[in-house]
């Protein structure tokens, strides 16, 4: 259980720094290597990385995460949205293959979901 994400690299985009910190610690504790970004611009800088899975907040201070999500989807990086966004059905339509987690989600659910999505 503790090493569910061993050897995986995760891109984490989340603007709330406390939540970003918490999530990256959580994923690291489960063996992942995490690179995190706090806004869209920073996230786009990591768009070409070799990610096993991306955990993305939707609303960021400099815009919605979609441009980054699209770039990642083009490269078949599995997407997990972690969002308090009210319009989830719109998100699902735009990224049919993505997994959507409500925010906040339980630790086990987050880890399990990321582990099952990671390629």
């Amino acid at each position: 259980m503790a090493n569910d994400l061993a050897g995986r690299t995760v891109l984490l985009v989340e603007d709330e720094f406390l939540v970003r910190l918490d999530l990256s610690w959580l994923l690291e504790e489960h063996g992942a290597t995490v690179v995190s970004a706090g806004d869209l611009a920073e996230g786009l800088g990591h768009a070409d990385g070799a990610w096993d899975v991306a955990l993305l907040d939707v609303r960021l201070p400099d815009g919605d995460v979609f441009p980054l999500a699209e770039k990642l989807a083009e490269r078949s990086v599995p997407l997990v949205f972690h969002s308090g966004h009210a319009r989830l059905e719109r998100l699902q339509r735009r990224f049919p293959g993505a997994t959507i987690l409500a925010k906040p989600s339980r630790n086990e659910v987050l880890v399990r979901t990321l582990a099952s999505q990671a390629v």
Partner: protein, 361 residues
Amino acid sequence: MTKASSSFADRLRERLGGMDAVDAAGRALVALEAGRMGTWTLDIPSNMVTGDTVVADLLQLDFDDQPWPADQVYARMHPDDLPRVQVEVAASLEHDAFYEVEFRDIGVDLETDRARSRWLGARGHVTRRAPDGTALQMIGVNWDATEAKEAEARLEAMAEEMDHRVKNAFAAIRALVNMGERFGGDRASFARTLRGQVQALADTHAISSRLARGVGGAAVSVPALDVLEAALAPWKEGGGSRVVLQVQPGIVLPTADAATLAMLVYELAGEAAERGALGRSDGALRVTLARQEARHAAFIWEETVPGGVAGPTDQAPAAFGAVLAEQCVAALKGRMRREHGRGRLRFELDFPVAPAAAPAA
């Protein structure tokens, strides 16, 4: 059909029965004016429309050139909304139900060629039918629904924003609890930090909601002074000159940074109340925030306690509060310096801020 159409006649008789025509028309006019509505009549066999000045103005039709072909009226409606309008009209003719719809106009002032976009409300009812039930005439009203539509959109945006904030607040609390578990220290200091942080979340939320109401939307920036005043309020009340707060006017932070600064300051204050200047009657605290250069500000927190300050080195390493403070500094992209000893604790943070707004001309 005939039964339904007679029910409209019944209602007419019920409400206006025995009233002479002028009084009935007067009553209708007062109702129209009170509702700021215009009225129209659709003659179904000829498919022609007549209307009053309000309808002519709302739909940009020539009042003096009546009746208007129904297609001319439809041409004044937004093409995306027109099919909906036509479906509603047809349903009302067939089922004798109230015709009720909202639609946008064409978005252009035909006289000046300038953009002019309005939402119009419409309601109507078949008022005459042939004995076989065929609809012959429909009478309806129109009104300007733009303001109501805008209010509705604002309300929806606000509800969405609130929902988002509440979920974020829960996520932040969850993160704090997880963090406390990782970097515990003793139970009392864990509880103290958590309490302070929940208070910081609540106060920052209160400040940004107050500002948002002021601007009629989501506030994007928060004066640093508001955050610091709220953080120190419990100790400033009746505290005399023990607590001094000096903030250079005009330092405004993006909401996220304001929340982070609040977290840092509430942690410092909680610590000071437990072990430092705020927990003792002879302690003094001086907090200043001032611009250093155009894009930097210095935040200085200075406690003096005659007997000495118990500094952070007395705590277990990496205790919750200390880790939190460090992370706040990192999130603000700032640099901190912490010195303590000989009855004095000084915490200094240098962090980037937006340049001062140019004074209004």
